[in-house]
């Protein structure tokens, strides 16, 4: 009886604390707008589309096979799954009742119109430094989309992170709000590039990796892992067997294919698809800025060994088994003698970033799932998830990584393959 009383009092105290916290942290609601906005002028619409493409809004706010901007895409975070929201102008389930002021507050402070705190899967810690003009253009563009009435599934977050007011603490740690009234300066291409990378494009969201608190690791751009894909370090582009050059980066970001490094895959692919729609000067600025943040060269690795096919395929090794699998499954496109390697100077397998990386994740993802067919893209690869088991994926890796890419073998490939296969199962 006594224990029950204490437990009851404890629960009441806890409820009171959380309640007080809730009242303290909850910002005020902003009055809904009831009148429909006039249709934006074509110039405004085009400028808004450019901001929204550069901000990559659609990549997260559109579910697989779902209506554009209607949300519902599950974002797997270390803390559970967060479903992106509907940002079409539907009054009940989207942002149809949001004023420009409410939209601006959401981007600057991560607060919804009704005052609840948004999860930082929404990159407001970057959007917060957007120019007022760009925020308003994005608003006008999104408000002119076709309204879609749809609700995203409920978030599946671990307790207590499903209690949104706690985000006030997170914001105190990681949100450095930008200023309202921020106008675009007369930007140099480099300043424009920094703005597009750091603020609008929020590249650091994937390419910096997260700390245990879900904040982005500092210093930025040292590489991360997102949706089971490795997001390479953006400060190491000038290293590797073929250092990136600025023009090559522009072609890759706009076309999804680099002749010296391979194709954009996984979560990077839609990014390149959107960058293909913006003016070339924007992508040139992004590339210019990225080339300016390159880390000094690491200590020289010494002369790179030539691929030792004979060692990689010594009898009764995983590499030998991998060579057999390669002959039947891969060689018709990827063998040095394959006709496909002669089209448009395609990159040889040896230079593929997925094979050169420190971790096998991107190689495994590509083998398991291929590169999906898209009529707008020259890149396609069939999936092998139903052909090869995890042990065979590891055998293939043993052969290709050492025998073709001439890099030290990866570890734990079979286990990583099993994990990635499970994560991406429908």
């Amino acid at each position: 009886m006594k224990i029950r009383t204490i437990a009851g009092a404890g629960a009441a105290m806890l409820a009171l604390t959380f309640g007080a916290l809730y009242a303290w942290t909850r910002p005020a609601a902003i009055a809904p707008v009831t009148q429909a906005l006039p249709a934006p002028a074509p110039g405004v619409l085009a400028a808004g589309a450019r901001v929204v493409a550069l901000g990559d809004c659609m990549v997260c706010h559109t579910a697989k096979g779902g209506a554009a901007y209607a949300g519902g895409l599950g974002l797997a975070t270390p803390f559970g799954t967060i479903y992106s929201t509907n940002i079409t102008p539907d009054p009940d389930t989207g942002i149809g009742r949001w004023s420009a002021q409410a939209f601006r507050r959401a981007l600057r402070e991560g607060v919804a119109r009704d005052g609840h705190l948004l999860y930082p899967a929404f990159p407001y810690i970057h959007y917060t430094r957007m120019y007022d003009g760009d925020i308003d253009l994005a608003y006008r563009y999104l408000m002119s989309r076709t309204p879609v009435r749809t609700m995203q599934p409920a978030n599946e977050l671990v307790f207590p992170l499903n209690f949104r007011p706690l985000l006030a603490f997170w914001n105190a740690l990681y949100l450095r709000p930008g200023e309202t009234g921020t106008a675009a300066p007369t930007a140099t291409p480099l300043a424009r590039g920094r703005y597009l990378v750091d603020t609008l494009g929020h590249c650091a969201s994937c390419h910096s990796g997260l700390n245990p608190m879900g904040g982005e690791r500092k210093p930025a751009f040292r590489g991360g892992n997102i949706d089971g894909w490795d997001a390479p370090a953006l400060t190491g582009l000038a290293h590797g067997p073929v250092p990136w050059r600025q023009q090559e980066l522009v072609e890759y970001l706009r076309g999804g294919l680099s002749l010296g490094h391979g194709a954009a895959k996984g979560p990077m692919r839609p990014v390149t698809e959107h960058l293909a729609t913006v003016p070339r000067e924007d992508v040139e600025a992004i590339a210019l800025y990225l080339m300016s943040i390159q880390a000094p060269h690491p200590a020289p690795e010494g002369a790179r060994a030539a691929p030792l096919v004979s060692v990689a395929t010594a009898p009764d090794t995983p590499g030998a088994a991998g060579a057999r699998l390669f002959a039947a499954a891969c060689a018709s496109c990827h063998a040095a003698s394959a006709p496909l390697t002669r089209i448009n100077g395609r990159p040889g397998l040896a230079l593929s970033s997925a094979l050169q990386g420190a971790r096998p994740d991107n190689f495994i993802q590509t083998v398991l799932h291929g590169v999906p067919w898209d009529p707008a893209s020259p890149v396609y690869m069939p999936p092998f998830a139903d052909v090869l088991d995890d042990e065979q994926v590891a055998q293939l890796a043993a052969y290709i990584r050492t025998g073709i890419a001439a890099r030290p073998a990866w570890h734990d490939v079979a286990r990583t393959s099993a994990k990635l296969r499970k994560e991406t199962q429908e």
Binding site: A321, A323, R324, L325, A327, A328, A329, C330, S332, C333, L340, W373, Y380, M381, P382, F384, D386, V387, L388, D389, Q392
Partner: protein, 154 residues
């Protein structure tokens, strides 16, 4: 070095080099000529067979990957004297023109029906997407599959 697998319900010991694509083993060692060579790059689907219930491109499926697994080809669905339900529907709907893609179409469709006996048209369209027909009889192929899916003869 031999490979043991189950082919159309029967145990088979295959002597081809394990680095050979399954399609060549089927056609050359076993003389099962249903599955066709189209592109050799997993882009057309003419070589489709069913491995452990899943449709795969046999032109890029290594024999070495099939030890102990179960393979089903178009020959396993029926024959000219006793066509299976899907084959009979393809005949009823005259779904073949030149016929080169049909073995692949049948096996891919069978894999779907084995898992989902009553798919929607949308599901059938999405599932059949990897297989191409250059004659353009997709609408007849689709009608034949839908007939089996919803005509009570799965």
């Amino acid at each position: 070095m031999s490979t043991n697998l189950t082919l159309n319900g029967k145990t088979q010991v295959l002597r081809s080099d394990p680095g050979t694509p399954l399609l060549y083993v089927l056609r050359n060692e076993l003389r099962l000529n249903g599955a066709k060579f189209g592109c050799g790059m997993g882009q057309c689907g003419a070589c489709t067979v069913i491995v452990d219930g899943k449709p795969v491109f046999s032109c890029m499926t290594p024999l070495a990957a099939l030890e102990g697994r179960s393979v089903r080809t178009v020959e396993g669905l029926g024959n000219a004297e006793a066509p299976g339900p899907l084959q009979a529907a393809f005949i009823r709907h005259q779904a073949a023109q030149c016929g080169y893609c049909i073995a692949g179409m049948l096996t891919r469709a069978q894999a779907l029906l084995d898992k989902h006996p009553h798919p929607t048209e949308q599901q059938v369209r999405a599932h059949m997407e990897p297989n191409l027909c250059r004659c353009g009889t997709h609408h007849r192929i689709l009608a034949a599959i839908m007939d089996v899916a919803h005509g009570g003869r799965p």
